[in-house]
């Protein structure tokens, strides 16, 4: 086997020049590594959304349902967001856009956000990349971009399935408003996913990232649901990212720009702060 060691490097092979980064290698590898899981989430989201919307003729489009809700305590109705469950937009919001989709997607995004830097770092999987010819900024930026793209794709799945199935069961919805609400859903999920990603990138600790991301998500959900029940609780509600997303009644009115801007600011700000810390800290790789 050592008979011809000198032929190992063909002399006609050109020497490597300065490194030219390929097209987003970290992003492509992240997609390659996670794609199967992501497709699974897409299937689940599509199925659950379709299932709930298909109940519309039996549940929402039905005077008994509205009568049942009218008979419930007002506080419970407000907290559950059932105020307008008898209307197509109200039903879609109560079931999919304000409940199932954000909960599933936030669980997904907080988990993935914590995994992308902190989880891989704790498992020692980032060692070759971190020690390789890629800057920390680039590693972080391409990982964050993966989170942006996959959450956008999954939110789009919810939006497209909602429009398609709503058409099938004869729900009268404004497509533009559903599209706006879908963008809002994406921004909410991205903001909370990025928060988890940012805590993980800044500290290298996956558990802490999940705790902060899911803690903020639960607090935001509860605040949005219960603040209206408190005397003068409206200002408290304005602190909740769920309110930023739902406050404008997006399925009727479309996405509210101030809320969207607040979600975008949380998404971008957390990652930018994390990048500054990540660039300076020791890596556990």
């Amino acid at each position: 086997m050592s008979a011809e060691p000198t032929t190992r490097r063909p002399t006609d092979t050109p020497l490597p020049g300065p490194p030219r980064p390929g097209a987003a290698p970290v992003l492509r590898w992240t997609v390659r590594t996670h794609l199967r899981t992501w497709l699974g989430w897409g299937v689940v989201l599509a199925a659950v959304s379709a299932l709930y919307i298909s109940f519309w003729p039996a549940m929402g489009d039905n005077q008994e349902m509205q009568a049942l809700v009218d008979g419930m305590p007002e506080a419970l109705v407000t907290a559950m967001g059932y105020d307008a469950i008898g209307s197509p937009a109200g039903y879609l919001e109560s079931t999919v856009y304000a409940l199932l989709a954000p909960i599933l997607l936030v669980v997904f995004a907080v988990g993935l956000g914590a995994q992308l830097i902190a989880g891989d770092e704790e498992a020692g999987l980032l060692e070759l990349e971190s020690a390789g010819a890629v800057s920390r900024w680039r590693l972080l930026a391409e990982s964050a971009l993966a989170l942006v793209l996959v959450t956008a794709a999954l939110a789009a799945v919810v939006g497209l399935v909602s429009i398609a199935v709503a058409n099938l069961v004869g729900m009268d919805l404004r497509t533009g408003a559903v599209a706006g609400a879908t963008v809002g859903l994406w921004l909410l999920v991205l903001a909370l996913g990025n928060l988890s990603f940012a805590v993980g990138a800044a500290t290298g600790r996956r558990g802490l990232a999940v705790a902060v991301g899911s803690g903020v998500a639960v607090a935001a959900y509860v605040t949005n649901a219960l603040a209206p029940l408190l005397e003068g609780g409206e200002w408290l509600r304005r602190l909740s990212p769920f309110h930023w997303y739902l406050g404008n009644d997006p399925l009727n009115e479309g996405l509210g720009l101030p809320g969207a801007a607040a979600l975008l600011a949380l998404a971008l700000g957390s990652v930018l702060l994390a990048a500054v810390v990540y660039d300076r800290r020791d890596l556990g790789v």
């Binding site: 490597p16 020049g17 390929g22 999987l125 020690a131």
Partner: protein, 313 residues
Amino acid sequence: MSVVIRTEGLVKDYGHGTARVRALDGLDLEVAAGEVFGFLGPNGAGKSTTIRVLLDLLRPNAGRVEVLGTPPRVGGPAQRARIGYLPGELSLAGRATAGELLHHLAALRGGARADRIASLAERLSLDLSRRIRALSRGNKQKVGIIQAFLHGPELLILDEPTSGLDPLLQHEFLAMVREATAEGATVFLSSHVLSEVEVIAGRVAIVRAGRIVDLDDVATLRHHAGQRVELHFAEPVAADVFAGIPGLSDIEVEDRRLRCLLRGEPDALLTVAARFHVTRWSAEDRELEDLFLDHYRMPVEEQEPEEVGADVR
């Protein structure tokens, strides 16, 4: 001769407050271009910490560090593209195949020399179509070796490189190191096993508790370590015949057999031994391990007199 790695007074602490641990305590290193430099010490001595500072994974608390003429903090990805790194504990996971991972790592360097992946895999008998998570430890180590050598780096930083490799592959690995140095590469080889570096290293630094405690070329270390010599004679010999021979110590004579430790040339011993009828002889290099142990035994020996004194009383 240019210097490829230089550290001066490197200090690195982990943790904060009372949990603060000093991993590097004023580490000074100078590795010249083209040499194979052995970096030896027990686990926890600061070897991996040093390497991670060289690769800009860790930022030192004090001291200076330069790799290929630039501080790692400044050199960034362009500097690391000129380095091949094999981690001591390589963690690989996932559904992707070994070949996909190697192409990904090559893509991080702009795809440099990706065409060599197949030939290197063949050389180390690695099946590129196997999934990473199904690879044995030895096969993962092959992936690590290939990605370290792939782009023909100017500096190879190898941490415990032959762990998990069978003897045939160790041989192949050593051949790859020799070829790399023949083409001018510098090799920084870290290990806690001396025999791993002895065969290829020129100079060896011994690190302990974050400091360099010894630095010499392998031949000098070998000289200090000496040889265990055993001679058998046709007739019984007297011990005092061998007393005073230069470089000879630990002399044991038992009937017709002499055992001793020889440092330096054997000429004087052979001249004396030739006065008798020698029936058998053997001379064995002491493992550098023994010398290594000498270093670590010192503090223990310093404590012994106290214990003896207590016993006498």
